[in-house]
């Protein structure tokens, strides 16, 4: 009897070999990370050495001039404030008075602050549970929309994207009623099936899942990117897989998934960074009452970004807020590096 692993590798070989051929229009990781240099040699771009170098320099200069407005804007509105926040993170600063240098005190304070951990916990929950669910939902939606037999495909695709362009404030207020514990649409529908639904917006157990649920509403952006990726997978790979006797599941595992992996990594990183900064929906849902609560009952919606905002503009403790922001930056950096490394290892293993 042939061991399962050997058996699979025998039958998979042609498919995997075919899958390893990169589709002509699929994005490479280098392209996604923007590491492909503009001067790289390409067929058809060859010119005599000196002339080519001169043209390249001129093009580089022109490119730089075109990029200059962005670079100036980036320097003024991003780079300088980022550097300033680094300085502020070592100070006590309430805007009205001069910053007072306090060394690492803001950083050490964070590690003794229970809201630091609480808000980080909520942020991680929304990130590590919400992002995979969002990607899965986006991919599933994209696959459905990519079906050849899908009726009114163009209309359905447009429809899938519409929620993504609805302003987040509208979405949050809409869902305040859809998820209402007493008269909400969702609970009414669940009630038809005899399901005793929770109080989504007031019960701390369900408040964070509710935010993830709302995020699925606006998954259209993820869907559209996945749809483009799915359409870039060459059909000959699927034909080869079919000839090798692969069913839909194995076709997905051995053809579709490797082809869309770079896009998945891209979406994973973008989703991760977006969720680490989650602010709008939890903030709108949990806007304070007269008891000055932040993040709703049990401060369940207190995300890290909301906490930074609260410390900065509620307490006017700019130095501490800057330190919290830098800690978030370091967390995001570490997570991004881990994801890229893991992806590279998976890639190498294949």
């Amino acid at each position: 009897m042939i061991p399962a692993r050997s058996r699979r590798s025998q039958t998979d070989r042609p498919v995997l070999a075919a899958a390893s051929r990169r589709p002509a229009n699929a994005l490479s990781r280098a392209e996604l990370s923007g590491s492909e240099r503009p001067g790289d040699e390409r067929p058809g771009s060859e010119r005599p050495g000196g002339k080519r170098r001169g043209t390249g320099r001129r093009e580089a200069r022109q490119g730089f001039i075109f990029a200059l407005p962005f670079l100036i804007g980036f320097a003024i509105f991003y780079f300088v404030p980022i550097v300033v926040t680094l300085y502020l993170s070592f100070t006590e600063f309430n805007i009205l008075q001069s910053p007072k240098w306090i060394g690492l005190e803001n950083y050490t304070r964070a590690f003794g602050d229970e809201r630091f951990y609480k808000s980080l916990g909520t942020t991680f929950y929304l990130t590590f549970i919400g992002v995979p669910i969002g990607l899965g939902f986006g991919l599933a939606t994209a696959m459905i929309l990519n079906l050849r037999r899908m009726p009114a495909r163009g209309f359905a695709r447009a429809l899938a994207y519409v929620p993504a362009i609805i302003p987040v404030v509208v979405t949050a207020y809409l869902f305040r009623w859809i998820l209402n514990g007493r008269h909400g649409l969702l609970n009414t529908v669940l009630g038809w099936f005899g399901i005793s639904a929770p109080n989504w917006l007031l019960d701390p157990t369900w408040m964070r899942p509710a935010v993830i649920l709302i995020s699925l509403w606006a998954v259209g952006g993820t869907t559209v990117i996945y749809l483009a990726a799915l359409r870039s997978v060459p059909t000959d790979l699927y034909e080869a897989a079919e000839l090798d006797g692969c069913g839909p599941v194995r076709r997905f595992i051995h053809v579709t998934w490797p082809s869309i992996l770079p896009v998945t990594v891209f979406q994973l990183i973008v989703g991760l960074l977006a969720n680490l900064q989650a602010f709008d929906v939890p903030y709108l849902l949990g806007s304070g009452d007269f008891n000055m609560t932040i993040g709703g009952p049990g401060e369940t919606w207190l995300t890290y970004a909301i906490y930074i905002y609260h410390v900065a503009f509620g307490y006017f403790r700019m130095g501490y807020a800057a330190a919290l922001a830098w800690l978030l930056f370091l967390i995001a950096l570490v997570l991004t590096v881990i994801i890229l490394r893991l992806t590279r290892e998976v890639d190498n293993a294949e």
């Binding site: 300088v80 805007i95 009205l96 909400g184």
Partner: protein
């Protein structure tokens, strides 16, 4: 250049202490200031212009119909003037307000704020003392609410004057009380507990009416019970025994009998604030703590509602607590970097005059900042407003204490109240923990 402008920030205590630190730190704020100035309708202070009038820029936090009432005052002032023109800008962004006060290119010459900012802003030299202007003019401040004068005085200098104020009382539904055979609003906490029991309705395990709002301002509840959140020196006192008793009273009479989960379900189905479906208007609850603005709101949204206003209940063993409430002020101030402080003062005096204050507060259904207006018959057009006007006369109606850590303290209080009503802790433990935490507040 903005760096230079930032270096001339007016508000430092140590003006002579120039270091690289300050401009760098403030440059982040410059970006926001650039944005603010880009959005501003007023570019720079105009000293010239038509008929060489001085332009005074007045940025106020009111919006909508309240903002329109401000514009009416401005129009009346401009019509009365041949030397000053006031230009009003509605901007509810308090952060932009603070950033403007830090800039050498400020966006306003006069503005408004509540209770809590006066002391810290005065301490940071961000706002101008009005005392020299008052003394120079011989302006009489005796008529302003004593509590407001006390709140706005720092080290003997008066920094702001109240154009309006707000306070809180118990509002009750007369029809529901009558149905239950209760003729008067609850005077004591015991009476109130009886009202809650008598007027709450639970059908098939679901609360359909509650004798009180399901979530209350617990800090105010404790004050009504004779508690206090600060001592005379401004130190936090969450573990004041009366605070704990008040919270326990709430647990015993509201949360425990009706159940936290059922109260949450009841609360989630209530109508939105500012709509005719607001639960007090719809008869979903019988009593609530709320402010004088409800007089205008109810007249507009539910004119047929049969409601009344009464002082907060007091504990039977502490009748001297009758008349306690909180006073929220709307103050006018002049920032230290005002380009035209004298002209701004002229406008402030006009705005604070009896006629303008009366018209303005009537439009907003706010209480006046002057004691002489508390008996003014003009307010009779607002239903039940007299209950609030009377309340402000009580010496027990005071602005809440304001300390640099107050915002943090309030947040921690809110979190503790949430834990108590959810049944995760008891009032005594929660308040003891809060007292412990309060020790770490930076002053």
């Amino acid at each position: 250049m903005e760096y230079t402008s930032v270096m001339t920030i007016i508000m430092s205590r140590n003006r002579r202490q120039r270091s690289f630190a300050r401009p760098i730190a403030a440059s982040a704020a410059v970006l926001a200031l650039l944005a603010v100035s880009a959005c501003s309708t007023n570019d720079t202070p105009s000293d010239g212009g038509d008929d060489a009038k001085v332009t005074v820029r007045f940025t106020y936090l009111w919006t909508g119909t309240e903002g329109e009432a401000v514009e009416e005052v401005i129009a009346a002032f401009n019509a009365s003037q041949d030397k000053i023109t006031v230009v009003g800008t509605s901007n509810p962004d308090q952060q932009a307000q603070v950033l403007s006060m830090q800039s050498s290119n400020p966006q306003f010459d006069i503005s408004g704020t509540g209770n809590s900012q006066i002391a810290p802003w005065a301490g940071s030299a961000a706002i101008k003392s009005l005392t020299p202007l008052i003394e120079a003019d011989g302006y009489d401040t005796a008529d302003f609410l004593p509590a407001a004068i006390q709140n706005n005085t720092v080290d003997g200098e008066l920094y702001a004057l109240p154009i309006a104020s707000n306070t809180y009382q118990m509002l009750y539904n007369k029809d529901v009380l009558a149905e239950a055979g209760i003729s008067d609003p609850p005077a004591t906490f015991e009476d109130w507990a009886n009202v809650i029991r008598q007027t709450s309705v639970v059908q098939d395990g679901e609360i359909t009416r509650l004798g009180v709002q399901p979530v209350i301002d617990y800090a105010l509840l404790a004050m009504a019970y004779g508690g206090a959140w600060y001592d005379a020196s401004g130190n936090p006192t969450p573990d004041n025994p009366r605070n704990i008793e008040a919270l326990q009273w709430w647990m015993d009479n509201v949360v425990t009998p009706y159940g936290y989960d059922d109260l949450q379900t009841f609360q989630s189905g209530l109508g939105e604030w500012g709509t005719p479906e607001y639960p007090f208007y719809a008869g979903d609850f019988t009593t609530m703590f709320d402010g004088n603005w409800q007089s205008a709101f109810i007249a507009r949204l539910r004119p047929d509602l049969n409601w009344g206003v009464a002082p907060f209940p007091y504990p039977a063993d502490r009748p001297e607590a009758k008349g306690v409430s909180r006073l929220d002020l709307s103050n006018l101030f002049i920032p230290s970097n005002s380009a035209h402080p004298e002209e701004a003062w002229e406008f402030m005096k006009f705005y604070l005059s009896n006629d303008q204050m009366r018209g303005f507060t009537l439009a907003l259904a706010n209480l006046p900042g002057r004691t002489s207006l508390l008996d003014d018959p003009a307010y009779a057009e607002l239903p039940n407003f007299s209950g609030f006007l009377e309340a402000v006369k009580s010496p027990l109606v005071e602005p809440s204490y304001s300390m640099p850590f107050s915002a943090e303290y309030s947040t921690d209080m809110g979190a503790a109240f949430g834990e108590i009503v959810a049944g995760n802790t008891d009032p005594a433990t929660a308040m003891a923990e809060l007292a412990e935490k309060a020790k770490s507040y930076s002053r």
